[in-house]
């Protein structure tokens, strides 16, 4: 059922790219109501809209039917966060978010796989941690860029997803009393994701064994492919003995103008 939801979201995005006539820097859609294609709890949908409407990166929204599904289109701009991140060299990769709906669907998978806590690394505006909280998972967002953490703080008053301004490689995870966590690494393997994941994995392996990892990948020819595939993460997974659980395609801001969606690779440490 969650796989179907993910496929429907990719189809919705593909149709949206055809009908979108605006010129905003970023844009995404959220269905207004529960439907056959999107059998999502109405309260959850309202919370997703609440996140978008209270998020200052979006400056405009309007209703539009896409694939006969009434949706709200959100138009936004993240340029000032990009400029800040490159100027101070504070992050591994500039802020470019996944779609809010994609964050929600990936959290449905995480919950379905039995994880209890979500730690979103390089959390941007905190949408993944926020969506985890909607599903009653404990969540923590770790972001090195202070400007982005300041963006998260008012949003975390809706649902407290515990924003932390910290270098994820230096953060003391033992403070969180984690039981069965899953770590989300949003940066591509080829854009600093490997270094980031390696640093965190080394720290975590000292305190916990049964840990999940989700990696955002790419099959784009713009990037070097990994000989062991898994959207750029295959060699890393082999080297760190991570078992593949599932790969799922979901729309992201950075693939809006591309025909492919972003592959998310769910893995778990081999016991």
């Amino acid at each position: 059922m969650i796989e179907e939801l993910a496929k429907n979201l990719v189809n919705l995005k593909q149709e949206f790219t055809k009908v979108y006539v605006g010129t905003s820097h970023i844009q995404e859609v959220i269905p207004i109501h529960k439907s056959k294609m999107f059998p999502i709890d109405e309260n959850h949908l309202q919370l997703l809209h609440h996140f978008a409407k209270n998020n200052p990166i979006y400056y405009n929204f309007y209703e539009q039917k896409i694939l006969e599904i009434p949706c709200i289109v959100y138009e936004g701009d993240i340029n000032k966060y990009w400029l800040n991140s490159i100027q101070y060299g504070s992050s591994h990769a500039p802020f470019s978010p996944t779609w809010i709906m994609s964050a929600y669907v990936s959290m449905l998978f995480a919950k379905d796989f039995g994880f209890l806590e979500i730690i979103d690394i390089g959390s941007g505006d905190g949408r993944i941690a926020y969506c985890a909280k909607i599903l009653n998972l404990e969540s923590y967002s770790i972001e090195i860029d202070e400007m982005l953490v300041n963006l998260q703080k008012p949003l975390s008053t809706i649902l407290n997803f515990h924003p932390h301004c910290s270098d994820a490689v230096q953060f003391d995870y033992s403070l969180l009393n984690l039981q069965k966590p899953v770590f989300f690494i949003g940066g591509l393997a080829q854009m600093g994701g490997i270094e980031l994941a390696t640093g965190i994995l080394k720290k975590i392996s000292l305190i916990l064994k049964n840990v999940g990892w989700v990696f955002a990948g790419t099959y784009s020819l713009k990037y070097n492919s990994d000989p062991k595939n898994n959207a750029g993460w295959g060699t890393f997974m082999d080297e760190h003995n991570l078992k593949h659980i599932q790969s799922i395609l979901l729309p992201t801001v950075w693939t809006f103008h591309e025909s492919d969606a972003t592959p998310y690779i769910f893995t778990q440490a081999n016991e």
Binding site: T23, S24, H25, Y59, D77, N79, K80, L83
Partner: protein
């Protein structure tokens, strides 16, 4: 097989393109990104041609071609590398700095949809300038290895 005459003719045509581009530039010129790319492309193009031709040069080569190769090398090493290229680098650095300061000082409150989208275009221009700067810096690194 391409004859020496054909090679010579092609080299002269490419030289004319380069000469025209170089001569259109003054210290006051504000080159667009497109013009900068076009100019460096032609410099790299001619440098590669010269490297290839010099490997094959023998007594059969027409004197006019050898003279043109020498003239082109002088234009690239003196006029371009010592004068125009540093000028382009400096202007790019200054332009990126000015645009960055300008965008950072822009008031982020109470912007209309049009304001935000017009500003996004300036960010896009900034990204283009930064990419061009990277490309120009790569050329500069190449010079330091010569």
């Amino acid at each position: 097989m391409t004859s020496l005459d054909d090679i010579s003719k092609m080299f002269h045509i490419e030289f004319e393109k380069l000469d025209k581009l170089i001569n259109s530039i003054t210290p006051q010129s504000e080159l667009s990104i497109h013009e900068i790319i076009e100019l460096y492309y032609q410099i790299i193009n001619m440098t590669s041609m010269i490297a290839m031709l010099k490997q094959q040069v023998d007594s059969n080569y027409p004197k006019s071609l050898i003279g043109k190769i020498s003239e082109t090398e002088k234009i690239i090493s003196k006029k371009f590398n010592l004068d125009i290229h540093p000028q382009i680098m400096t202007k790019l650095v200054n332009s990126i700095h000015d645009t960055t300061v300008n965008l950072q000082s822009s008031d982020s409150t109470q912007k209309s949809k049009d304001d935000v989208e017009n500003e996004a275009k300036r960010y896009e221009e900034l990204r283009q300038k930064m990419s061009t700067q990277e490309f120009v810096e790569q050329y500069d690194k190449g010079l330091s290895y010569d």
